[in-house]
């Protein structure tokens, strides 16, 4: 089998929650040796976020945590111990990249700020990701991606105009910032490859996410018009909406941007007169007519018919639909991986494919401290006696 792009790359990974681990997952799934360092006393908080296997909370039972930690090694260190650097320093000396997503100030408190790291390893690349950024008046204000989505304008753009803003699924900014963080980290790795120079790469989840509303921010400044959430309306479309189908919570998206698509829609639904009349009466009437017409249909069959006729249409997939989706299956999106406590689960693979250097999800997420001994012995070269001594002093789980 071909090696991954990052075969040989060494990463000391202090990332936690979602955005950070999703970023370093791209490194581990592409061949890097990623050692996730967790604090014994304060493990990654999403280990405590569901869904839990058998619906029983437990430190090694979270599917939420699992999905972001394929192919990684896990070690658990008492980061509050005064002698923590006896373990962490050699790890930093070994690493090409140190990645962290703590509240600004935590790494410095541990003696692991960028200047400290540089003394240990002059060419190190440090990646720091936080919600608000490393400085500024809000730097230490806590929050997750839900707060990020609110601050970055995603929530403002989601929902019905006559209702409070709806909450977009997921900690939305956690899904945006890994893409930008990885681009910047890659740029730093490329720069180091060419010049030998490391650096500190620091970014804020919210700043990455505001990139998505940058056009609206330009429009507001030039015209004074502030775009508002508008349900499923879309400027410029002849028709654009989400309509009920038969069955429980079954919905279909239909979108007509061109007259040809509109004609095809009328033909497939065999309701030309009614739809033309409704179109003249306005978008509300059109949505109502379409809802009446689609309601008895099977969403999957109707969406196939419309697609075949050249009309953009799709079933609004539920979670279960994703796991049954023939497209994702053909794409080999899901990777079944076995975990000692959780059994075999399908992990999400990446959104990209490399023709010549395939991505491989090599192992399930690590249990807390699962690879502590392996890392200490095989990577850092400590003897069994030394490892036992660390354990006896309470440094290592």
């Amino acid at each position: 089998m071909r090696k991954g792009i990052f075969d040989g790359l060494k990463v000391c990974d202090f990332m936690w929650a979602a955005a950070g681990p999703i970023t370093t997952k791209q490194l581990s799934d592409n061949g890097a040796t990623v050692v996730k360092v967790e604090s014994v006393k304060h493990p990654d908080s999403i280990r405590l976020g569901g869904p839990f296997i058998d619906n029983k909370p437990g430190i090694n039972r979270s599917g939420f945590f699992a999905d972001f930690h394929s192919s990684k090694l896990g070690m658990a260190v008492d980061m509050s111990h005064a002698d923590r650097l006896e373990i962490i320093r050699p790890l930093v000396e070994w690493a090409d990249v140190v990645a962290e997503s703590f509240r600004p100030g935590i790494m410095q408190k541990w003696g692991l700020g960028y200047e400290d790291l540089r003394k240990m390893n002059p060419n190190i690349i440090m990646l720091s990701s936080s919600l608000h950024g490393a400085d500024g008046p809000w730097a230490k204000h806590p929050g997750y991606g839900a707060q990020g989505a609110a601050l970055a304008g995603i929530q403002h753009m989601t929902g019905w105009p006559d209702r409070p803003p709806a909450t977009p699924k997921g900690a939305y900014s956690d899904s945006v910032s890994p893409r930008y963080a990885l681009a910047a980290l890659m740029a730093a790795l490329i720069h180091r490859e060419k010049t030998g120079q490391g650096q500190h790469v620091e970014l804020a989840q919210i700043e990455a996410t505001v990139q998505l509303v940058a056009p609206q921010l330009l429009e507001l400044q030039l015209t004074g018009h502030e775009t508002q959430r508008s349900g499923n309306r879309k400027s410029g479309a002849i028709q654009h909406g989400v309509y009920p189908c038969s069955g429980e919570e079954r919905w279909i998206v239909i979108e007509c941007e061109t007259e040809a698509q509109w004609q095809a829609l009328c033909a497939v639904l065999d309701a030309g007169d009614r739809l033309v009349q409704a179109r003249h009466a306005g978008q509300d009437a059109l949505d109502k007519a379409l809802s009446d017409i689609t309601a008895p249909h099977d969403a999957f069959a109707l969406s196939r018919k419309l697609q075949d006729a050249g009309v953009p249409a799709a079933v609004a997939y539920k979670g279960s639909d994703l796991l049954d989706d023939p497209i994702l299956e053909a794409r080999e999106h899901f990777w079944p991986l076995h975990h000692e406590e959780m059994g075999t689960l399908k992990y999400n693979g990446p959104a990209y494919r490399f023709e010549k250097t395939p991505t491989t999800l090599r192992s399930a997420s690590p249990r807390l401290g699962e690879h502590s001994e392996q890392v200490m012995r095989d990577i850092l070269g400590f003897s069994t006696g030394e490892i036992e001594a660390f354990r006896a002093r309470g440094l290592l789980s």
Binding site: A150, W160, A166, A187, L212, L218, L322, Y352
Partner: protein, 409 residues
Amino acid sequence: MSDGKAALAGMRVIEISSLSGAVCGRALADLGAEVIKLEPEGGEPARRDLPLVPVEGGEESAAWIVYNLGKASVTADLSTDAGLATFRSLARSADIVVTDFNRMDIDKMDQLAALAFAENPAVVWTEILPFGRGHRFERLPATDTTLQALGGHLYQNGDVDRPPVRIGLPVGLLQAGAEASNAALMAYYHALRTSEGQRVDISVQECVTWTLLNTTMAWQILELNELRGGAIRKERANQFFTRLVWPCQDGYVVFGPVGGGGGSARVKSYDALLRWMAEDGITDDILTSRDWNGDGQFFIPQEDYDAVTEVIKGFIEAKTLAELTTRAVEERILMAPINSLGDILENPQHAARDYFRLLQDPARGLSVKLPTNWVHMSETPVAPPRPAPTPGGQTAKYLNEKTETESAT
């Protein structure tokens, strides 16, 4: 310290795009690559994407201006031999080519990719497609909204008594563009070390699926299909509905006071909230009737949750956004205002971090602030924004380069 050199200095990118390819190219340009757009005579269609904004001499797409800062433009008709010759000549010196499905179909991509690899085996060919490559669905028609649906995100947004709603932005295409930037750079990193180029494809559907975070695990583990909930939803696979959007005097905040996991930050946040409520004389017993963020936090009975949040809701409703935000930042309460677009422009945190930079674009008559400083790199900082190109603005420059190369060989 930094000598101001960009991280991707010396990298050349050819971009043949609509929206998503442009987002990719913009990230690469910000990081220092020389990005050359190949456009048809008069400019690519995306220059007219809505919303349009007034510029010197007419109107232009806001998204186009924003996502094409700092690039060059060469016009070439890729349906002609002359246009293809221009492409080949640029591909010879390119490190990355990026394109997307709204700009060209798969057959055209294959034609250009073959030409690029023939000229330059080390090039990274990057293509953004609705469902990626290499299977029988690769030509299925799609739009951003159908992809928000097929990625599983749309189903989970909105109020339960109405149809699901999309995020009112082309988030699938935008996220895929950002993803393409990092995937292209990963492949370039490989090419840099091995001289081996390759094709990289990005699936918009998979990008959307990656915005869900725990949905596919929730189904596998609990057979739970998470449902949309508007302001109130089952957060993090909770078994009960939690309120996430809270009205206040002059707007809304996002807040998760109790239940659902959040670690010590949520415990401290709740303690800080109770101190503040006590200052206002609100000390209802229910607030401390159980350890709301301790054991059992995932299994709070709905009626208990509703009872405690009723008290908290009353407290928040009486406050202004400014009061809530100030106190939340001071006391580390897990609360944030739901910002309007105008609020984003005024956010003091952005100002303190020099996030917005001034774009001076005299040709368009623009002097505006844009959120371009999205990453702080200690040795290779992001350059200040430079205007987006006019159609074919740099054609002469690059055609001369082509002529010089040909005469040299």
